[in-house]
Subunit: 600 residues, 2 copies
């Protein structure tokens, strides 16, 4: 049991009890699935994680990718992982049957990826990215592109990437400078540099397929002049052989964590012989890319929560095994030491980790459910789910990523000095975690997206829908008297969130700098309230389950859930008071602070 990295019981609790994944089967698109099948899929994912991914969790960290003679060499297991993921249908899990997919709900497919990520984040990124890239081609590509790429990618033979970032344009996609020159032959000639490309080159796949943003020559400056291209590392020549497409790896980065996946800097078209194939319409690339980007943001949140899960179970296991100290009232040095999990401070640290892990998972599954609903809901309702998903994506990505740092840090703390050493996995979890508030849009970018765009879009409709969702959860919870303290606390929290939001929107006339100066704190505030809502939803499901007969193990599971929900409301939710104070004190000091006051 020392190697437990996720609770499949919790995964099933979320899917079947909280989010009722079976209700999706009422819709034609998902009607071929049932509980038995979902259980088989989930159990298979756990087995695959345990057999294929987890055993090389440390090995991939200790033997990071190397750039040798222009080719990135990764852990030898990567090729097999891609193959098994392809053959097992894990890359195509959510693709429609007509694209040879399994047509699984996003909820179920992402629940499987939770397990993969928890077992070995770096290893799971290869197939995960490939799925996102393939979906872009499936969504926007013409038949020729689909024919050439989809089969190879979904079978795990070819790797997919997202190639946005450039050295001079990190978060500022407006400034993308890679160029695409149209040719008479239909393809474009691509030239430029891309950096921080995850899985941007490696020898575990036969080919790398970059979904790349570039600017067609003569296109308008700024975001409206960016197009999306399929740019393979190797292109098919006339006789069907793969030949170089003039992309070279100029460097790979040596990272603190997430070391099993290479992050490459690419030089594209140095010999003027790189061909790119446009996806969809010219100049609409950024909008297309955001399909994959939003999917990957949910993926980053899942990755973060999954890493925190693995660290949490390592900590639980250790705290049960490790004896140290006595009950505080026991002053007899001759009495035996007790397991450290009996100390209140340790239980507090573990409850914190569990609150973050299971709260994040719940919110992410909520997002996946909205995604599934956009696919099957009646036309007049799809915008509701799309708006909720758009609103909550930056929140879910950021809550899991930022809190994941604190959660894995507390996992280390549970181990004491041992947690700082490589003998235990938690130091790696802590290192692996730190990328998450950065990749696929930093926390600052997510915050501007939430407050600058999502909260105010369509006259605040997404925000209003969110409030409705929270109200509905409180309504359901009121049926259980034991939950009434939580309901009234959440009610106050949501009112405070509304107040703060309205006060902020009211100062937006002072210009975006003042309005958005503390957007990151607003996002933090929003995240805490949102996860409180998720804990209330979970508490309702627990109370429903507790009405029936339960085995000891089941009773313990539900008791743990309720304690964690109570922990969240007692320890985490109160953090919003301080944030609200700051967000409404109307002092734009960070705007006024001059850079020369920071002595260099």
């Amino acid at each position: 049991m020392a190697d437990k990295f996720i609770s499949i019981r919790n995964v099933k609790f979320l899917l079947f009890e909280v989010f009722d994944v079976l209700s999706l089967s009422e819709h034609v698109y998902f009607s071929q699935h049932n509980q038995k099948m979902y259980n088989l899929v989930l159990d298979a994912a756990l087995k695959l994680s345990t057999r294929l991914l987890h055993p090389i969790f440390e090995e991939m960290d200790r033997n990071p990718p190397e750039l040798i003679a222009g080719q990135v060499k990764v852990h030898p297991a990567v090729a097999g992982i891609m193959k098994e993921f392809g053959q097992g249908g894990w890359i195509s899990a959510t693709f429609p049957a007509e694209s040879n997919g399994e047509q699984l709900p996003s909820m179920v497919a992402n629940a499987c990826f939770m397990m993969f990520f928890a077992a070995n984040y770096s290893a799971s990124v290869y197939p995960g990215l490939t799925a996102g890239a393939a979906r872009l081609i499936d969504s926007f590509g013409n038949e020729g592109l689909k024919k050439t790429y989809l089969g190879k990618m979904l079978s795990g033979k070819w790797q997919g990437t997202m190639a946005l970032t450039e050295p001079q344009a990190g978060s500022s996609l407006t400034d993308i400078a890679t160029t695409a020159l149209p040719t008479a032959d239909g393809f474009y000639k691509i030239r430029g540099r891309k950096t921080f490309i995850s899985a941007g080159d490696h020898d575990g796949a036969e080919n790398i397929v970059h979904l790349m943003l570039a600017r067609i020559e003569g296109a308008p400056a700024g975001p409206r002049g960016i197009s999306l291209f399929v740019v393979p590392k190797k292109r098919m020549n006339e006789d069907g052989n793969l030949v170089s497409n003039d992309i070279t790896v100029s460097q790979i980065f040596h990272k603190m964590g997430y070391r099993g996946t290479p992050i490459a800097e690419l030089s594209i078209g140095d010999k003027e012989d790189c061909r790119g194939y446009i996806l969809g319409e010219p100049h609409r690339g950024l909008a297309y890319m955001f399909q994959m980007m939003n999917e990957e943001r949910i993926g980053v949140g899942l990755g973060a929560a999954s890493i925190a899960s693995a660290a949490y179970y390592a900590a639980v296991h250790y705290c049960k095994q490790r004896s140290q100290g006595r009950r505080l009232a026991d002053k007899d040095p001759a009495s035996p030491q007790i397991a450290i999990i009996e100390h209140a401070d340790i239980k507090r640290m573990l409850l914190f980790q569990r609150a973050v892990v299971e709260g994040s998972f719940s919110l992410l599954m909520q997002c996946c459910k909205y995604e599934d609903m956009t696919r099957v809901a009646l036309p007049q309702e799809t915008s509701r789910y799309r708006l909720l998903l758009e609103l909550l994506t930056p929140v879910a990505k950021t809550y899991a990523s930022e809190m994941g740092i604190l959660s894995t840090s507390q996992s280390i703390q549970c181990f004491g000095g041992y947690g700082y050493c490589q003998d235990f996995p938690v130091e790696q979890h802590f290192r692996d975690m730190r990328i998450h508030p950065i990749h696929e849009g930093t926390t600052g970018i997510q915050a501007m997206d939430l407050l600058g765009r999502k909260v105010v879009m369509e006259n605040g409709r997404a925000f209003a829908l969110f409030l409705e969702e929270v109200q509905a959860a409180m309504y359901a919870a009121r049926k259980f008297p034991a939950l009434s303290p939580l309901v009234s606390q959440l009610d106050k929290a949501v009112k405070l969130l509304q107040d703060v939001t309205f006060q902020l929107v009211a100062i937006s006339h002072k210009g975006p700098e003042v309005y958005l100066a503390d957007a990151t704190l607003y996002l933090e505030f929003f995240g805490i309230v949102t996860v409180a809502w998720q804990w209330l939803l979970q508490a309702v499901s627990v109370h429903k389950a507790q009405a029936g007969e339960l085995s000891t193990a089941e009773a313990d599971f539900y008791q743990g859930k309720i304690f964690t929900a109570r922990y969240y409301f007692a320890y985490e939710l109160p953090k919003i008071s301080g944030l609200a104070q700051r967000l409404t004190d109307g002092n734009p000091m960070t705007v006024e602070m001059k850079s020369c006051f920071f002595s260099d």
Copy 2:
């Protein structure tokens, strides 16, 4: 300037403007020092840091110690560092002249160690530990021990360590099992195992001198049966040669950070030939050890704040160099990108780091001042300073260590993806930082010390003295109208701290488990208020300075200080509301939570 790791301007601000180190010269013990001399010492420390320590900051991380044939091999520079630190008088800096020391105030010596730690934490631990161990011998050793050890240690030839932790007794010193058997020859035969011994063995010193806790055979169980011994790796035989003293290194730990210093597990007396020399009286070892422990706790706080300082200056430098994006109101993609330090969110992140770094340094200097005062104050006043120092040691250690994790994490965030890579130093700072809430007593241990012992000792006298100190600062601040919002905010915060403290003490009759269940949160609360007091003190000094003529650079420095103080009060101090809510809600859920509810 890219390699700036500390602001000597800020160091001098704290020493001369905030804490008036020159006032110590009114006392005979420090009367031979003056400002010119202090400046020489400080400038020399910075030069030494820049020349000797900082250039190998990364190298020591990339080439960690190795255990080869029973001997720990460290970076070849360590021997030279020990030698220079010995010869330069840095190890003996605070020792009295009669022990061949420089008789410097703790404030000045620790200000120098701030620079050493910021330049290269791992490298500075070797001399730092040696100083603490030597001081124990100086304080409690007989003439023979002083003669044999002090000279060698203060000259950097021999390394000192503190050897407390055992594999079966981490934080629980009560359970120390290493034994000491008296012999007719005056020495004791030592047997046992010690673990996590920093610099516990290495080839950069001729000998290692362990200050080791052990239990004399037949001693009572528990903390009252523990004695302190000097146990060298090599002992002097009759002809004056060093011979093995039967201590073997069973392993060294491979750590996430702090990799330049070896952490060893030692097997002592396997051949029944390890000699230990008792320090002071039998059975009083724990009390003696706490002299070094408390000194090292301040050292850990300094180390943490110093690492955060280095990461902060790396971030400031990067944010001034790196162009990305435009002012939010500027929608013209053709306009040039601006340095990211111009973005409010980046300024907020930098202000946070500066608030933590300079707030921590200030609190640590405050502790050092109390230490200096215990040495020179009138007899009736020394207990005042001793109590204040005892009360604030766990607060200063923990605030710097816990907030240092968040601060270095924000340094990484300022760099975006680059911060996660080894091309920049901040990822190492983040890794180096993570040990600080663990070593020399975990945060949980500090919390129990604060709430379980320090706050209530002598009927709350230390706490009352602390309140007096804060009142005095507020009194001084009231002379500056611009500071009145800060004063009234601190006034409320201190009242809230009193309320919370009294409410907690009132439930202590429910037993220590309930009373101390949230001691860690109480410590966090205490730390935030304490650092607010320090920022008010700094703000007072700024206002005094601003009354005079200032150069542009000086004016900018003080403006930055004031903005940082305002930042602290606007963004950090409000965090106490949520903590107070939790600490007074009277729900001992972490005590009630059963370990079986944590599914393993």
